[in-house]
């Protein structure tokens, strides 16, 4: 299986009274809470962590896009990926991804991803999320009722632009360009692997199957909550006559490793409470712009009375309620333990959910350099070896980058001190 190191790049210094005094981590987060000196430290520290993960042998390093968000400091993940391309050699660069409906014209994404693929020698994985309501509709002002239509057109345009052997005119519903001609071109032919981060909608699963893309379920709520979604995904693949190749699926899991479970609980309690107690304090007003969810998905979601009741309770909840650390552990949001315990649990997760592309959040909440490094190193040296060979004897990973051979690769110079 593939083990990928995923960074959200959270701001680590949200105050203790954040929920009571500020109350919103996304869209209208208090600008006064951002200290640019800390921002300077964090960006450099976080890039170091990603580089170290690559050196320690993780198969891929992942960055993603969020806007006006206190737990995601990457409005432009492409900037981070560009920095990483120069300082890593073998790891896949997973940009997970660019919300393509936000860019006018979307060929900007085709260009930047082509640049990254060239710069990295063909190591790019191109993620195309629709984007959350908070990022797209509220922060970027995109119309929820036209977002998906724009997304699909942007995808078609980008993929065509990467492959066209001559300039072409695009007279679309949302984009008109008389001369589309992406220059530079990606190294990987016909284009870099495309992964689709998504929620649990049937339409997304069907689309991934039709396009033969990886479906990545990026939830912060762990394998227990993810089980039903991944079961739905695989049921749909079977219905569509697709094989059960686990590399069709990506999954995100928070993990904290230590020498013992007791030590892990001691070390990761604070960061987990910080993430689930502060970083997920999203105002529900920004969660469901009308038109963002298709009517088919809406119908499927509200069809059970139980789901309806839960949704109502959710909508009417006035105060944000942080889960306790015990709940975080018992519900499997975060897996903690000794290397053997974590390996055992992740083996179960990967097998049960049938996931070949496992993305790991080994920095979460307010974890700083030392703890993140400890977690990453323990995982790389004592967990990865126990998982690495899973699936490889049975399935081919057709959704992985095909970089240039070693001798064709440029060598960036070191940094002058």
């Amino acid at each position: 299986m593939r083990l990928l190191w995923f960074h959200l790049m959270p701001y680590t210094e949200l105050p203790d009274d954040f929920v009571e005094r500020h109350g919103s981590v996304w869209v209208d987060i208090d600008p006064a809470l951002f200290d640019a000196r800390i921002g300077h430290e964090l960006y450099n520290e976080f890039l170091d962590e990603l580089e170290e993960a690559a050196e320690l042998g993780f198969d891929g390093i992942c960055v993603n896009e969020h806007h006006q968000n206190g737990y995601g400091l990457m409005p432009s993940p492409n900037l981070m990926a560009a920095a990483l391309a120069r300082r890593t050699r073998d790891a896949a660069l997973v940009v997970m991804g660019n919300s393509i409906a936000l860019y006018d014209p979307p060929t900007r994404v085709a260009e930047e991803f082509a640049m990254l693929d060239c710069l990295s020698g063909g190591r790019l994985i191109a993620g195309f999320p629709v984007g959350t309501p908070m990022d797209t509709c509220y922060a970027y002002g995109r119309n929820p009722s036209t977002l998906r239509s724009r997304y699909h057109e942007a995808h078609d345009l980008i993929v065509k632009a990467w492959q066209a052997d001559a300039p072409f005119a695009w007279n679309g519903r949302w984009n008109q360009q008389r001369y589309v001609n992406v220059w530079p071109r990606p190294i990987q032919k016909p284009h870099p692997p495309i992964w689709i981060p998504g929620g649990g909608s049937v339409e997304t699963w069907q689309w991934c199957a039709r396009q033969d893309y990886v479906y990545a379920y990026l939830s912060y709520f762990g394998y227990q909550a993810g089980r039903a979604v991944m079961q739905g995904f695989w049921d749909e693949m079977e219905r569509l006559g697709k094989d059960k190749n686990p590399y069709r699926a990506g999954f995100l899991q928070f993990v904290g490793v230590a020498e013992s479970r007791a030590e892990a609980i001691d070390l990761y309690r604070g960061p987990a409470e910080y993430f689930y107690g502060r970083c997920l304090c999203v105002d529900p007003r920004y969660a469901a712009p009308p038109g963002y969810t298709t009517e088919a998905t809406l119908r499927a979601k509200v069809v059970s009375q139980v789901a309806q009741a839960a949704q109502r309770a959710d909508q009417q909840r006035r105060a944000f309620v942080a889960p306790s650390f015990e709940e975080i552990l018992s519900k499997g949001y975060v897996i903690v333990g000794s290397p053997d315990e974590v390996a055992e649990q992740l083996r179960t997760v990967a097998t049960e959910l049938n996931v070949g592309q496992l993305m790991l959040l080994l920095q979460f909440g307010n974890m700083r350099r030392d703890l993140t490094g400890y977690n990453t190193e323990l995982f790389a040296k004592r967990v990865s070896p126990q998982l690495r060979n899973l699936f490889d004897d049975t399935w081919e990973n057709r959704w992985w980058p095909r970089p240039l051979a070693g001798e064709a690769r440029a060598t960036p110079r070191g940094i002058a001190s």
């Binding site: 509709c137 119309n143 929820p144 009722s145 036209t146 712009p289 009308p290 038109g291 009517e295 009417q316």
Partner: protein, 275 residues
Amino acid sequence: MAAPAGRGGPCDAAGHRVVTTPRERTARVNGEPCRVWEAGQGEPIGFLAGLFGLTRWTPFLERLSRTRRVVVPSLPGFPGGRGHEQLDDLPDWVAATLDLLEAADLRGADLVGASVGGTLAAEAAAFSPGIARRLVLVAPFGLFDEAEPVADVWAQRADELPALLAGHPERVLEQLAPAPGADPIECHIESVRAMAAAARLLWPTCDRGLNKRLHRIRIPTLLVWGSADRVVPPSYARRFAERLGGPCSVRLLEGAGHRVDLDAPEALVDAILGG
């Protein structure tokens, strides 16, 4: 399709009697069905409804239909109307509105538009001067002043929206409740669709450039606002009045919120008929 009036009982939450069952027919706009309700005798008057549209005949329409032949076409995406997902930009919406008004035989009639319906009534009148003889705009969207912004109706908690829209939130809830025998899931989806249609036209600030076209409206126009409108502040009446190109008057209805038609049905009818 929503149940005709009367089926849910003879009174609404406020005790207004609603006994009329409107005649119903279907107009086609871009090939999609749009419901047209009609009741009463006399000079025709059209009504384009606001946020959430109309799921039932209301006391406001009941009272207006005692004096006039009231024609109520449903805009695409609002209850009874389909096809909003074909409408990508303002010209698409204006053309659809003109098609709908013409299919409802309302060209040249008096036209009342409330909230989102008021925006489209104004746009229709600006683009096609003969579409209406006289205009009544009830708390229309369409302008945006940063110093006194229009509320973001698409960023509200579900349980707080009714009180934002009306001084009598129970009347909003009554409009949104499933009719007897109706599927509650489809009813919920219908209300989400109506909000999505409004968003499709007006997201994110409700300003689609109407301020550059209001001067083209030269027919007599009455602006009606609820004094307690928490969505489009009553001061917007002045902003509209300053820009309109023809004779206009302003009526402020004391205590009413954004859904003037639900909060103050009698006073709204009196304003329309007396203006």
